[in-house]
Amino acid sequence: MTTADYDQASLPDLLPLYYRRLFPFSQYHRWLNYGGVTKNYFQNREFSFTLKDDIYVRYQSFSTQNELEKEMQKMNPYKIDIGAVYSHRPNQHNTVKSGSFQALEKELVFDIDMTDYDDVRSCCSGADICPKCWTLMTIAIRILDRALRDDFGFRHCLWVYSGRRGVHCWVCDEAARKLSVAARSAVAEYLSLVKGGDETVRKVVLSDPIHPFITESLTVVENYFSQYALLGQDILGSKEAVDKVLALLPEDILFLCATFHMIFGVHSVASLLAKHALMKTAFFNQMTAKKGHYFEMEIMLQYCYPRLDVNVSKGVNHLLKSPFSVHPKTGRISVPIDLRELDRFDPFEVPTISLICEELDQPKTEEEQDDNMENENKKEAGERRKMRDYKRTSLAKYVKLFDNFLEEMAHSRKGEVLKNSGECNLNP
């Protein structure tokens, strides 16, 4: 049993405990400080808090990790959002001459929300998710992560579970943080293939030539398609569902399907399609040999390709939910996702605040007592206790993930410094 029952009403009791003993402040500060390379980077960062009774406060900023801790422990925010690094301290923005207070840098972010897929998922809708449709998130992460790394050359992408129905990506490379609004918008457009609102039936339109990015993305989709769409979502399982698929086909292909239907009957068409046989028969291939027919790919993409909200990624000053923030409706912590174990990630196994608070009360194991002895001499009491605390809970492995991520960034920074100072020793 990995989730204690969570009740939103108990947040006022759980949050103080969370912020006092579990929230990984040291790692959090290490992250946002980015090695202290740029002066005042942490101090000029905007945070926003949503407090009890939906009170929302913006332009929060802090001088040190300690100040951040004290404030959060005092306010016990229900939600925490991270904004941009500004030209001045956000909490003093009113004292700055109008026009001079500017958002300068921020991580490049992406927000994938399951509700954007409502037109193509049959198992759930709205804020609900289930293991069947969660595959969409897996596909999204694989496709986007590959593109951000291989195509754009970004190396530090932190993927985080949003706490309810989606995932966020924080691209933390220096080059990413310095991107302009236009650049962010261009990156988001490059990554967008599904376009159109309720009024658009055919949301993916491909034409020659097929860009390598699309080919790569399709490879990922094809890996998951049979299991996810044909079996899980059963997109050919009912007349209604089949009609939705057929609505995406060009007219002459529809004509073909109608002909087959007349000859073989409804069920045969569905099962043929399901086995991709129809699409692979010589007859069919002959008919579709005409250039420009990519409907098979378009259908798969429309059902599976990631749908991102360009507006979230565009703005340098856009505020996004912070990692390790609590989701008030579900109680789940926004934890980093381990890409090495991506297919095994289960959003329903993510620890809730009630669970980890409960785990805090459990008696120490022998193992932990030994650890404690070792650390006794190294750090001051408060920190020691904090380190012990989250390690005792299900939160531990996620903080470790975060640590690894931060280590990699630190390593990169060192590499940059060496490169720039020309001290790289290739042949000792």
Binding site: D54, Y56, S98, T115, D116, Y117, D118, D119, D150, D151, F152, G153, F154, A175, L179, S180, A182, A183, S185, A186, V187, E189, Y190, V194, K195, G196, G197, D198, E199, T200, V201, R202, K203, V205, S207, D208, P209, I210, H211, P212, F213, I214, T215, P250, E251, D252, G292, H293, R307, D309, N311
Partner: protein, 485 residues
């Protein structure tokens, strides 16, 4: 201070060569000569007329298409400051080009909207002129402006051959072999990245020599943007000159036209009137939004902005707006409390009562069409641009537009851009009193990227692209519909 152009010619070619070494320029250095007021005014007005033509052509036609180029070739104010193919060394034209650009900077640097407009048109003009350059002049231009983009080796080209060919429509195997490819950081080639027209790897794009124009344009945009910001800061000094102030104001208002932020009819609309008004006098996009709001008791952010500002433009007061939105949202999943906390703020923001207190202006058609396209679950946007042709046809039918009006498509008709609030006002004028028919301007959807690429056996009706006679026909039908309703 008067200084006649005749005297300028005496100064001699050496200086002019230095100043205008190339027929095309980035406008890096401001002019330092003196000119007469009348020349000041003529230069500015001529260039403005040119830019307005550029704007109109840019919405009617794809900017790199032959039709667009032909139309711009024929533009009357172009020869005054441009030489085709950079053929000759005409000093007077280069001078006019230079000076007129800087004058317009003064007029268009003041607000975000003006700057954005000016930059967009200048870029489009620059693109047209750059594409006109013969290739040796391109190399010269790059050199002249210190743009160092490095070419990739033959080995690397071989390795990347497949990827290069599949990334770009214009690139074939022989192109890769024969031409130079430049490796450019992706931040310098955003337009190509955005539209996926280029091979991108490790943060670099690989561009064939002939596509360097896009890179150059980005550079131009960045420089111009920075320059305008600087100009805005030194503007007070210029504006204090009484001779210039009226002219500069006139120039910038000539573009903006009416922005419908000053509502003469404020408070004259009651909430009960909104439903019937939506059927009679709303343009299609707003009707759709209103419908969506009534049906699902909710609209997403994009829809709230577009519709909310429109309502402000037709005369709703802040209190009325709050009442209107609250009563609708409360019927849905939002309780009054939550509405006051989450949504009321943004409505007050629209009216300039929160945050930096900007009194936002209702969106023009250009803005609706070009910014923030709708995605899944959204209701905003322009139905003539963003909707499926079939659905649009059905919708127009249900609003009783005649079938012949709908089926006319593909014709090359000119039109003038409009504003949803203008549609409303014209329509109200018509219903309120006698007079000429309402002009139904219909937006043309001509962006090939959004059209389905496969041709159908019969002509598929497309989003409105209506020649004059048909527009008149639709007008008639809509008139009678208004009378019947």
């Amino acid at each position: 201070m008067q200084f006649y152009s005749r005297r300028k010619k005496l100064i001699g070619n050496s200086q002019t060569e230095q100043l205008y070494g190339h027929c095309l320029q980035f406008y890096g250095q401001p002019p330092i000569e003196n000119i007469s007021l009348s020349e000041f005014e003529t230069f500015a007005v001529d260039r403005l007329k040119l830019l307005k033509t550029v704007e109109n052509l840019g919405v009617s036609y794809v900017k790199t298409s032959e039709l667009y180029t032909k139309k711009l070739d024929a533009e009357e104010f172009l020869p005054g400051l441009n030489v085709r193919n950079c053929e000759t060394d005409e000093y007077e034209k280069r001078r006019k080009d230079h000076i007129s650009h800087f004058i317009l900077r003064l007029a268009y640097c003041q607000t975000e909207d003006l700057r954005r407009w000016f930059i967009q048109q200048e870029i489009d003009l620059f693109r047209y002129r750059f594409n006109d350059l013969p290739s040796k002049n391109i190399g010269q231009f790059l050199q002249y402006n210190n743009l160092h983009y490095h070419t990739i080796s033959i080995d690397e080209k071989k390795k990347l051959m497949d990827k290069l060919v599949t990334s770009s429509f214009a690139v074939s195997g022989s192109t890769v072999d024969g031409k130079d490819f430049y490796k450019v950081p992706f931040q310098d080639a955003l337009d190509l990245v955005r539209t996926r027209k280029v091979y991108l790897n490790g943060g670099y794009v690989y561009i064939p020599h002939q596509d360097i124009v896009t890179i150059v344009l980005n550079d131009f945009r960045t420089r111009l943007s920075k320059a305008l910001a600087l100009t805005a800061r030194s503007l007070p000094a210029v504006q204090s000159d009484e001779r210039l102030q009226p002219l500069l104001n006139h120039l910038s208002h000539a573009y903006v036209g009416q922005d419908y932020s000053i509502q003469k009819s404020i408070g004259k609309i009651s909430l009960e009137q909104i439903d019937p008004l939506s059927a009679k006098s709303y343009p299609l996009c707003m009707r759709q939004l209103h419908r969506g709001l009534r049906d699902s008791h909710h609209l997403r952010h994009g829809g709230r902005m577009q519709y909310g500002l429109f309502l402000k433009g037709i005369g709703l007061t802040l209190d009325q707006a709050l009442q209107f939105w609250r009563s609708e949202f409360v019927k849905g999943k939002v309780d009054a409390d939550k509405f006051d906390k989450a949504y009321a703020y943004s409505i007050r923001h629209m009216f300039g009562k929160e945050g930096k207190r900007t009194d936002y202006t209702p969106y023009s058609c250009m803005k609706v069409i070009l910014s923030n396209p709708p995605s899944q679950g959204d209701q905003h946007g322009c139905p003539f641009r963003h909707s499926d042709p079939e659905l649009l046809k059905q919708k127009l039918q249900s609003y009783k537009v005649s079938p012949s009006g709908i089926s006319q498509v593909g014709k090359d008709s000119g039109f003038s851009l409009n504003h949803p609030n203008q549609y409303f006002m014209e329509s109200q004028k018509l219903l309120g009193g006698p007079g000429a028919g309402v002009k139904v301007e219909v937006k043309r959807e001509d962006n090939p990227a959004t059209k389905p690429p496969n041709p159908s056996p019969h002509q598929t009706p497309g989003p409105g692209n209506l020649p004059q006679e048909v527009a008149a026909e639709i007008t008639e039908d809509l008139d009678s519909f208004f009378q019947d309703a």
